[in-house]
Each structure stands twice: as structure tokens, then as C-alpha cells.
């Protein structure tokens, strides 16, 4: 690779720490980046990558630690300081104005003008140059962004980032919305920038892609820098080892449960937002884990099953009865319950009370002669608050006033309250504290013991391994494999999720290890 170790340092972060309440999002992280280097920043979800980029951009102030850009102390008080220091970040979610043209977007905030009058000609020239540089001269400067494909938008976003004459370019999951061909073009652009001396931080979950494009890597785990080195000579296995190297602790109370007959059988099911057909079965008393990276199609599967998305092909067999599409209300009648991964946006009505959120899917126990018996509802909800250990001043409080973990308990309690027998849980432990997590695991075990069936989607591999009977893995919309949990370990799960296949020859080894 072209980077010589002696090329000058562009960025140095030393001992950066950032805490949110009790969580150490970044713990004494040091990081270096040289001119003309493409450094991959790796780590599982929640490892601290985005916090680190927010600190770098100036969006978050670190609790302690220092940063230098080209030898000068760098202590940004906001993103504008990062921008001025030559830092550009292309975020995963696009930040373009959809109704404005390519040219207007690229020049946004740095319009060429004379006394306030736009200098159209010079702007047009600059935009043309920028698009030629990113090897997409065919993109017209005149079209509105909303008419472009997602891939082309990503290219425009990058072109805009480069207008800043950046010294440091951060690409956050740049290929998650790109086709293979566009990804390859992006790699070319990244190499060209590197050759021009731009330093690139490249964040991606797709390890094979990272190996192609990056010169070096840094792995974060639980907010700590756990390893850095040159990419050459580093295998996928090594990277995965670094990413998941945490020791699995005993926070998974094992609840004994027996597995009964099949209650849900997906036959070649394909939802409107799913990339491929999926066949899976789920039995009474079974906890089926679904692993995969964000965007790999896990959530889309759950939404199709629950009827929030439409169904394009295949069918579901629920307790032996074949059904096609169904709306959520019909699914609830069939015994389904769905926990959304977006607790605040979708899962809960934040401005409604705990009592109403909890009973929202089934008011029937409290209705007599068409009237709601609110006293009864309150008393029942008070019972659930006790049972689920929800910390709130009372059932009339708005859900908004609860902490994340307690909000999640309300959302879960709703499924128990409606007596769902097939539970679809999408990231049930996201963003909640460790104690609440352990409680959630125990409840899931209890549910299985009562003979209910649980589909458990999670990005956190240890909890899947600790709680589930069987685990299925998705990679880019395709179901890679489904096996008993004992036949998986973090390595094989991670490589199935990040690469799309289970490494050869490891299976026997894995089994041995789990057996001991």
C-alpha cells in the first residue's frame, strides 16, 4: 500500500473520554491518522464509533482528552469548527435537500456571489469539476436531488463534502445504500483522494469491503480502542476476534422451557420491503433469535409478518392455518404481538399515559355497556407496574417522563397485557441499562416456559447466544443460515452477518468449544 508510516500526522486524538450518565461511550480512546491514509474504524453497534465521530466533528464535547489537527490543538465548540479545520463527514443518512438541484445542494452555504447576487457561472464550473472528480460527470447539475437514485445521492453528498477541500474525510457506512457497481466506483474515488493526500476514516460493517479499501484499521469495543494495525496481513478472523472479544458474562438467567408444536411457519415469505424469500418455522415455547447487521432485512421480516408491510409472495401458516397478508389488527387477533425497534417514534405514544399505552392494544377487559371503566383499567395497570417493576410515579404519568428502560418495560407489558402468544421483538434491549436487560431476558425465558413463541431480533450477539434456542442470521436481505444456538458462537455469527457465510472448517471447532 502507498502509505508510508512516516507520512505526517493529520489527526491525533489522545485519551478521549465521553460518558453519558453511567455509560462510558468512549473510554480513554487514542487515535492517529496520517496524510494519505485510509483507516477503517470498526466495531459492533454501540461500540462507540458514532460517539467518536461526533466528538471529532465538534457535535459533542469530550469529558477529557485532547485532539490535534496537523499539530495544532483542536477543540471544536461546534460542527462549524470541524468544518473550518478541514473535516468533512458523509453521514449514513443523507443530508441533502430533496427539492433543490444538485448544484444548489453542492454549493449550499458556500454560494459564489458578488454583493449578494449569485454568480451562476462560477458555481456551475465548480460543480462540474466536483462531479468530474468523483467520476460521475453524467450527473446533471440541474436535476433536483429527489429525482436521483440513492446511490447517485450518495455520490453528490461526497462531492459536496469534497468542495470543502477537506484534509480529513469521514465516510460513515457509505455503501449501505449503494449497488455493488457504485460501491466499486466509490472505492476508486477513495483511492484517488488518498493519493492526493486526503486522510480518510472509513466506517463500515462490511468487513470484506473494508479489507479492499482500507490501509489500516482501528477497532473499538465498549468504547475502548482494542486494536489498531495495518490491513495487509490481517485476516477477517482477526478483525472479528477484536470486535467481539468481550467475555460473555452470566447475565442470562436460563429459564427451562420445552419446545412444542409449530405455531408459525413462513413459507417463501417475501414482504414488499424484503430483498429475498424467507422460510422459517417457530414453535410453541421456542425463542428464535435473528441476527444480522442493521439494514440486513431482519426488521423488514418482522414487519411483514405483523402486517405493517405488505406481502408480495409466499405465505404464513399460523397454527396450521394458511394466511396471506394481514393487517396488524388481524394479526393481533391471531395472537401476535409486536415490539418496535423504534420505541419513541413508533412503539409508544409518548404523550399518552402509562395506563393508556399499556392497554392500548386491548381495552376489552375494561368495557361495560360501551363505557370504559377507567378505575378498573388503572388498577390493572398498577398491577402490571408492580409485576414488571416499572418505575413511574403512577399510571397517569405520561410515558415521556419515564427512563428508556422503563419505557421499554411499558411496551413489553403491553404485549403481555394483550396476552400475545407469538411475540415479535425487535431489539427489545436497545438503549436500556444492564439491570433492565437482565430482567427482559428473564421475561423472555418465562414467556417461553408458558408455551409462547418468541422471535427475538437483536444486534447484540451475546444476548442472542445467551437467550435463544435457535438463531437465524441475515446478510443483505438473505437468510444465511438457521441453527440451534449451541452450534453458533460470536465468531461464526459475526462472520455470517458481516460476510454472508459461515467460515469453513470452523463448525466442528465451534461445537467442541460450546460443549466444554
Amino acid at each position: 500500500m502507498t502509505t508510508a508510516p512516516e507520512s505526517p500526522l493529520v489527526l491525533r486524538m489522545t485519551g478521549v473520554t465521553k460518558t453519558f450518565g453511567a455509560t462510558r461511550a468512549l473510554d480513554d480512546v487514542s487515535f492517529e491518522l496520517r496524510r494519505g491514509e485510509v483507516r477503517a474504524l470498526l466495531g459492533e453497534n454501540g461500540a462507540g464509533k458514532s460517539t467518536m465521530m461526533k466528538v471529532l466533528s465538534g457535535a459533542l464535547a469530550p469529558d477529557s482528552g485532547t485532539m490535534e489537527i496537523e499539530g495544532c490543538p483542536y477543540a471544536p465548540s461546534g460542527p462549524i469548527d470541524g468544518f473550518r479545520a478541514g473535516l468533512s463527514i458523509v453521514y449514513q443518512e443523507l443530508t441533502l435537500a430533496p427539492h433543490m438541484t444538485v448544484e444548489e445542494n453542492i454549493m449550499l452555504g458556500r454560494e459564489a456571489h458578488a454583493a449578494g447576487w449569485l454568480d451562476r457561472r462560477s458555481m456551475k464550473r465548480k460543480v462540474r469539476e466536483a462531479l468530474e472528480f468523483v467520476r460521475h460527470p453524467e450527473i446533471s447539475a440541474e436535476v433536483p436531488i429527489k429525482k436521483l437514485s440513492v446511490g447517485a445521492r450518495q455520490i453528490v453528498e461526497i462531492a459536496r463534502a469534497l468542495m470543502n477541500r477537506s484534509r480529513i474525510l469521514v465516510l460513515d457506512e457509505p455503501t449501505s445504500s449503494l449497488s455493488l457497481e457504485d460501491s466499486l466506483r466509490l472505492f476508486e474515488i477513495v483511492r484517488k483522494l488518498r493519493d492526493q493526500g486526503v486522510a480518510v476514516i472509513y466506517i463500515s460493517h462490511f468487513l470484506e469491503e473494508v479489507q479492499k479499501v482500507a490501509d489500516s484499521y482501528t477497532v473499538l469495543r465498549d468504547g475502548r480502542n482494542v486494536g489498531s494495525g495495518p490491513m495487509a496481513g490481517t485476516g477477517l478472523e482477526d478483525l472479528i476476534q477484536l470486535m467481539v472479544g468481550r467475555k460473555v458474562d452470566r447475565m442470562f438467567p436460563r429459564v427451562e422451557h420445552g419446545i412444542g408444536e409449530t405455531v408459525l411457519d413462513l413459507r417463501e415469505l417475501r414482504g414488499t420491503r424484503m430483498a429475498a424469500h424467507v422460510s422459517l418455522t417457530l414453535s410453541r415455547g421456542e425463542i428464535l433469535g435473528i441476527a444480522g447487521l442493521i439494514g440486513s432485512g431482519r426488521t423488514e421480516l418482522l414487519r411483514s409478518v405483523f402486517g405493517l408491510d405488505g406481502i408480495e409472495g409466499g405465505c404464513l401458516v399460523v397454527s396450521g392455518v394458511e394466511t396471506g397478508g394481514g393487517r396488524p389488527w388481524a394479526r393481533i387477533d391471531q395472537g401476535f404481538g409486536f415490539l418496535s425497534e423504534d420505541r419513541q417514534g413508533e412503539g409508544l405514544a409518548l404523550r399518552m399515559s402509562v395506563a393508556d399505552n399499556l392497554a392500548l392494544s386491548d381495552f376489552s377487559p375494561y368495557v361495560r355497556a360501551g363505557l370504559l371503566r377507567t378505575g378498573r383499567q388503572r388498577r390493572a395497570v398498577e398491577g402490571w407496574i408492580d409485576k414488571m417493576n416499572i418505575r413511574t410515579a403512577g399510571p397517569d404519568r405520561k410515558v415521556l417522563s419515564l427512563s428508556g428502560g422503563n419505557q421499554q418495560k411499558v411496551a413489553l407489558a403491553r404485549l403481555l397485557h394483550q396476552q400475545a402468544s407469538i411475540l415479535l421483538l425487535d431489539e427489545p434491549t436497545r438503549g436500556i441499562d444492564v439491570v433492565s436487560k437482565a430482567q427482559v431476558y428473564e421475561w423472555i425465558g418465562e414467556l417461553a416456559r408458558e408455551g409462547r413463541a418468541v422471535l427475538f431480533v437483536s444486534s447484540y450477539l451475546p444476548e442472542l447466544l445467551g437467550v435463544c434456542d435457535r438463531i437465524a442470521v441475515f446478510h443483505r436481505g438473505v437468510l444465511v443460515d438457521s441453527r440451534p444456538a449451541a452450534e453458533w458462537d460470536e465468531h461464526s455469527l459475526m462472520s455470517a452477518a458481516a460476510v454472508g457465510r459461515v467460515p469453513d472448517g470452523r463448525d466442528a471447532f465451534d461445537k467442541e468449544r460450546t460443549a466444554e
Partner: protein, 323 residues
């Protein structure tokens, strides 16, 4: 202030805010010597109540619509259309009761059209009801042949009579109707599953859908109810005017919306109450009444009501921000 005390203060502001506003408005006019005597007369209060009937009926339906996160800009046009239909029916020799029912059903039909367009075509309520505002107004003018429809006097015209018969009613039957319907709607909103679903749809439609609420059906029902109340308001308008006038109530939808908002309804949905809305209606009526007695020109009333809307919403925002 300590935290729980501030909590209580804020809660009190939410419940009592509009009520305090109403008391303030009445107190101010009662203290002005020039009009004090006239303003405080019982006859004046009953006349304010009668004048409030049409906006109040419209606002009862609008409260549901606004709590669900929607809006109904066609309310006033719908009132005009319903009043024209009622007049047309009586004029054509229909029994008065049939005319009343027909007027109310017309309103409900317009509401049904609104609800169906919003849910089937997935258009936003603002656009659909803006369109319906023109359609209903145009239809009213068309049916009335672009002029007032004269209708023979019937008992319908006594619904809004200033001096009711029998006299033990004290206020016009229309006022009693509003009071009964307000109680009914408050019970529906607070004590029925449908009411909870209205709040849920307005608070977070995704959550509602996820909880198995048939959001489309709920919304259609909401707009039908809204239309039904406009139909009733239309009948009252006809009762008051004794003619079917297709150009009546222009711009009244804004008064109706303002009443709901002053009463604590949030245009982003999930909040509002019938009691608040009724207080909002009365604040506006007493302001109009007092200003007229003072001999202040119309534009002063407009400025005052405009300012009140902004103040009411600002207070409401402040209460929310601190939560």
C-alpha cells in the same frame, strides 16, 4: 419553587388556563362602567349563549378532528351547504323533521367524503378539506341557484329563538342541545374505547396501528362525526336566518378552529378537551359581545381575538416545554 409544586401549577394551568381566560374576559367587561349594566344582564348572557350555538356545534366535531391530528377546513362551507339543503327541503314541502334530518345527513356525507379521501388516497387532511371547502360552498350556491332560499316558518325556526317557547326553557332549545351534546361528546372522548383511539391516532398514529387500532376506520368515523356536527350547525344557521343562504358562515371554520385551540387543543394532535373547547367558544363570544357593546369597530375585535389565539397557544407551549 419546588418541583412538585411547579408540577401542580403547570397542571392547574392546563385545566384552568382557558377558564381563567374566560373569567378574565367577563371581569374586564363587567368593570367597564359604560357597559357594566347592560353587559351583566341575564338577557345578555342568554343572547351570547344563543350566538355561540353554531360555532359551538362546529367546534364539538372539530375537537375530535384536531385531537386526531387532523383539521377540517370545510366546516364552514359544510354548514352553509347543510343549511341550504334544509331550507330547500322545507321549501319543497318536506316535513320539518325530515328537513332537519336531511340537513344533518348532508353534513355527515361531506364528512364521510373527507374521511374517505384522507384514508383511501392517503392525502393530508389540510389538502382534502381545503378542496372540500370549495366543493361544498360551490354545491351550496348551485343548489340554491346562487341566491337565498326562502322557506316558510316552521318550528325549526324556534330552535334559535331569542325568547324560547315555552318560557321555562330560559334559553333557546339550540343552547340546551349544545349542552347535551357537549356532555355526550365529553363522555365519548373520555370514557369510550373510540375516544381512546382518537387520542392514540393523534398522539402517534404508528403506535396506534401497531396496537391493532384500525386507524383508517377511526379516522373516517372522526370526520363523519365532524361533518354530522357541521350538519347540525347548518340546521341551526337555517333556523336563525329563516332562509337558506349559501354565502353564510364564510371564514367561520377559522373561528371554530380557534375555539378548539384556545381551549387547549393541539394542532399536532393528541390533545384537547370538550370542556376546553366550550370555554374557548365562550371566550370568543363574550369578546365579540363586549367589543360590540363598547362600540369598538370590527377590526379591533379581530385584532384582540388574533392576539388571544397567540397568547393561548404560547401559554400552552410553555406548559409543555417544561414537562
Amino acid at each position: 419553587m419546588t418541583k412538585p409544586r411547579r408540577d401542580r401549577f403547570r397542571k392547574a394551568l392546563g385545566v384552568l388556563g382557558p377558564f381563567a381566560g374566560l373569567v378574565l374576559v367577563i371581569a374586564i367587561f363587567s368593570l367597564i362602567p359604560e357597559i357594566q349594566a347592560r353587559f351583566l344582564r341575564v338577557a345578555n348572557f342568554t343572547s351570547v349563549a344563543t350566538q355561540s350555538v353554531i360555532v359551538a356545534l362546529g367546534a364539538l366535531g372539530m375537537t375530535l378532528v384536531i385531537i386526531s391530528g387532523g383539521i377540517d377546513l370545510s366546516a364552514a362551507s359544510n354548514i352553509a351547504l347543510s343549511s341550504v339543503i334544509a331550507a330547500y327541503a322545507i321549501n319543497a314541502g318536506a316535513p320539518p323533521l325530515a328537513a332537519v334530518v336531511l340537513g344533518v345527513l348532508t353534513g355527515a356525507a361531506v364528512g364521510l367524503a373527507n374521511g374517505a379521501l384522507i384514508t383511501r388516497l392517503r392525502l393530508i387532511p389540510f389538502i382534502v378539506t381545503l378542496g372540500m371547502m370549495g366543493i361544498a360552498r360551490g354545491a351550496a350556491k348551485w343548489i340554491a341557484g346562487n341566491q337565498k332560499i326562502d322557506a316558510p316558518m316552521t318550528w325549526v325556526n324556534e330552535l334559535m329563538a331569542r325568547s324560547p317557547r315555552p318560557s321555562w326553557l330560559l334559553v333557546a332549545p339550540g343552547v340546551w342541545g349544545v349542552i347535551l351534546l357537549a356532555v355526550l361528546m365529553a363522555v365519548v372522548l373520555r370514557r369510550t374505547v373510540f375516544g381512546r383511539h382518537v387520542f392514540a391516532v393523534g398522539s402517534n398514529e404508528s403506535t396506534a396501528r401497531l396496537c391493532g387500532i384500525r386507524t383508517g376506520r377511526v379516522k373516517v368515523l372522526i370526520y363523519v362525526t365532524g361533518g354530522l356536527f357541521c350538519g347540525l350547525a347548518g340546521v341551526m344557521e337555517f333556523s336563525r336566518l329563516t332562509v337558506g343562504d349559501p354565502t353564510v358562515a364564510i371564514g367561520l371554520e377559522l373561528d371554530i378552529i380557534a375555539a378548539v385551540v384556545i381551549g387547549g387543543g393541539s394542532l399536532s394532535g393528541g390533545e384537547g378537551s370538550i370542556l376546553g373547547t366550550m370555554i374557548g367558544v365562550m371566550i370568543m363570544s363574550f369578546l365579540r359581545n363586549g367589543c360590540t357593546m363598547m362600540g369598538w369597530p370590527n377590526y379591533i375585535q379581530e385584532i384582540i381575538i388574533g392576539a388571544i389565539i397567540v397568547v393561548a397557544v404560547t401559554l400552552d407551549r410553555m406548559r409543555h416545554r417544561q414537562e
